[in-house]
Amino acid sequence: MSALQRFSLFSRGQLVVLGLLAMVPLVDLFVPGVQLAAPMRNVIVFAILALGLNIVVGWTGLLHLGIAAFMAIGAYAFGILTCEIYPFQVGFWWGVILAGLIGAFAGWLLGAPTLRLRGDYLAIVTLGFGEIVQDALKNLEIITKGTQGINPLPAPTFPGFVMSAEHPFPWFYLYLGILAVIVFLCRNLEFSRLGRQLFAVREDELAARCMAISPDKAKLKAFAFGAALAAVAGALSASLLSSTGEPSNYDFQISILALCIVIVGGIGSITGVLVGAIVMVGLNNVVLPQATQALQRHGVDSTANVLSSPDNYKYMLFGLALVLMMRYRPDGIVYSRKAARK
């Protein structure tokens, strides 16, 4: 690894993707009738979620099927810390930061007893944890307001400036900025001592142990970092909606969407995850709903025929993406250099 690589802000690929994202509002300005900046904020949220998952799945080689639970923990932590019905009201910025810390703690809590498990068992435990968190949030109505969700939640603020739903551009650029910071952090984590430890554990646990790396400690850190990023994504998403939404918004589907992003984009590659987020969330949140609405405007009634609504192909899309990628390109679209070298 060259010194240049270590100290550069972003890699070329990351710079290209972030730059392209930064130009999205231009599309809104110059193409009439198109509004991309608002839904693209969701893409950014999911990119952050998937970057968190990537630390666990891509770099450490642990299959995590419950990342949505940490997103939920982040969203609800943000909700409880910032909503006016609770006494804390720490504001947007402290809310996001504390949500991330609480998420990291939750990740550590789940990881500590379970990380010694075999790969497929660990996957099922994380899945089970995801379901437990969802049900617990739904049932602990006194704290979480059950299915109503906690609302209203604050939009991001700067001194003398408050984001609002009518003007999505500043909001979009703020989230893009947060994403850029997180990409920068991930990139530095990748080339740090811990990052190299994680790769070592992924490639061969025994060999890593021989190099005086503690796989358990390394995995636990990966879990905590991943959970922290997922929780930050949850907080940002809650702020976007001005509500935590109901607990079932953070269900298994979301975990699988995040997994699809990581796998389709290229396991282990930050640039790949960004591309994967744009492709998968773009399809899921932008293309499919818009296509459905367009068809409805043209008189295709999707309630009469289930096949005529593009929205109904979501599961198929996720499923095919996973099966085909596993079958033909288990390393993803954008090859991780490390995976390719192997």
Binding site: G61, L63, L65, P113, T114, L117, R118, G119, D120, Y121, A123, I124, V125, L127, G128, F129, E131, I132, D135, A136, K138, N139, F252, I256, L259, I263, T303, A304, N305, V306, L307, N312, Y313, K314, Y315, M316, F318, G319, L320, A321, L322, V323, L324, M326, R327, P330
Partner: protein, 325 residues
């Protein structure tokens, strides 16, 4: 109702549901025993079995062959067994086909790659279930609201077998579950213990390479395992639909997780373990519904799953007499 009666009632619920869970769990455990794959799509295959059975009922009804409301004592049992076998064959065949198309080419891939592919298959099947629910048949609500739950007809008349005065209710459905599941489990045990193919399965489960060297056609054994596992799942789906009177394209996830928990609880890879685990999970669910709260039951089941995996990953019967298949 006295506390004892309440308890006995929950035991009946628990055993009935538990036997169904056990059938599904067998499908997980057999496949895991042979190819070490958590067949994530198994629960959703189970869901498709319910839709297939409902389609047959609807088609027979539309053809005028079947009139559920006025069926004799014998014809409804005949219909039930027919549905069990039909859905079983359907799910078994589909399971084999999925194995051939998806899992077989990646048999040598890392385990997690296969698991992710199985999750993908699961999502594809869920989507097929959603489409199936939009079928233009009367039993599916004429194609409207594809995502809605579908009513499954009461094939067996539901009077209390313990007499009208009894506080404890034992329905004909409960009885039917035992009449269907117990012989299936006995037949399966005999098959695995006594037949040539069954012996091949046990050998393949112990050591695939050695089994191949001994002249066992392991590919055929694997197909047979998927076929039998799928058959049991299909049979279970008919009993489940009959018992709950409603099916939905999303029911596979929950049922699958219950069954997987049962398989792990009993010791994954162990057939008696899956049966025991299924009954235990059924009982745990029933007791949790009664003595904790229904809305916490799933948390209890997943809690059991996590605790078992963390503290005793080999399950109750998995460690010493580890007889896979």
């Amino acid at each position: 109702m006295t506390p004892t009666e309440v308890f006995m009632q929950q035991v009946i619920y628990g055993l009935s549901n538990g036997m169904i869970i056990a059938l599904v769990a067998l499908g997980y455990t057999m496949v895991y025993g042979i190819v070490e794959l958590i067949n994530f799509a198994h629960g959703d295959l189970f869901m498709l079995g319910g839709f297939f059975a409902l389609t047959i009922v609807g088609a027979l009804g539309a053809a005028g062959v079947l009139d559920i409301a006025h069926m004799g004592d014998h014809s409804n049992w005949l219909l039930l067994f027919g549905l069990v076998i039909a859905a079983g064959v359907f799910c078994g065949g589909l399971n084999v086909a999925i194995d051939r198309v998806v899992y077989k080419p990646m048999r040598k891939s890392p385990k997690l790659t296969q698991l992710v592919a199985a999750i993908g298959v699961s999502f594809i099947i869920v989507n097929l279930g959603l489409f199936w629910g939009g079928a233009p048949m009367e039993v599916f609500g004429g194609g409207n609201a594809a995502a809605a739950s579908k009513d499954f007809p009461e094939i067996l008349e539901g009077s209390n077998l313990l007499g009208e005065d009894s506080n404890i209710v034992l329905r004909l459905e409960d009885l039917a579950i035992f009449i269907v599941t117990i012989p299936l489990m006995i037949a399966l045990t005999i098959f695995v213990k006594k037949t040539r193919l069954g012996r091949g399965m046990r050998a393949t489960a112990q050591n695939p390479v050695a089994a191949k060297l001994m002249g066992i056609d392991t590919d055929r054994v694997i197909s047979a395992t998927f076929l039998i596992g799928g058959f049991l799942g299909g049979a279970a789906s008919v009993m489940w639909s009959l018992y709950n009177n409603t099916i939905s394209f999303q029911m596979g996830f929950r049922a699958g997780m219950d069954a997987f928990t049962a398989a792990v609880l009993g010791g994954i890879g162990s057939m008696p373990g899956a049966m025991l685990g299924g009954v235990l999970i059924g009982l745990i669910r029933a007791m949790s519904d009664q003595y904790i709260e229904t809305r916490w039951t799933n948390v209890v089941v997943f809690g059991v799953l996590i605790l078992i995996l963390v503290f005793r990953p080999s399950g109750l019967l998995g460690l010493k007499q580890r007889e896979k298949v």
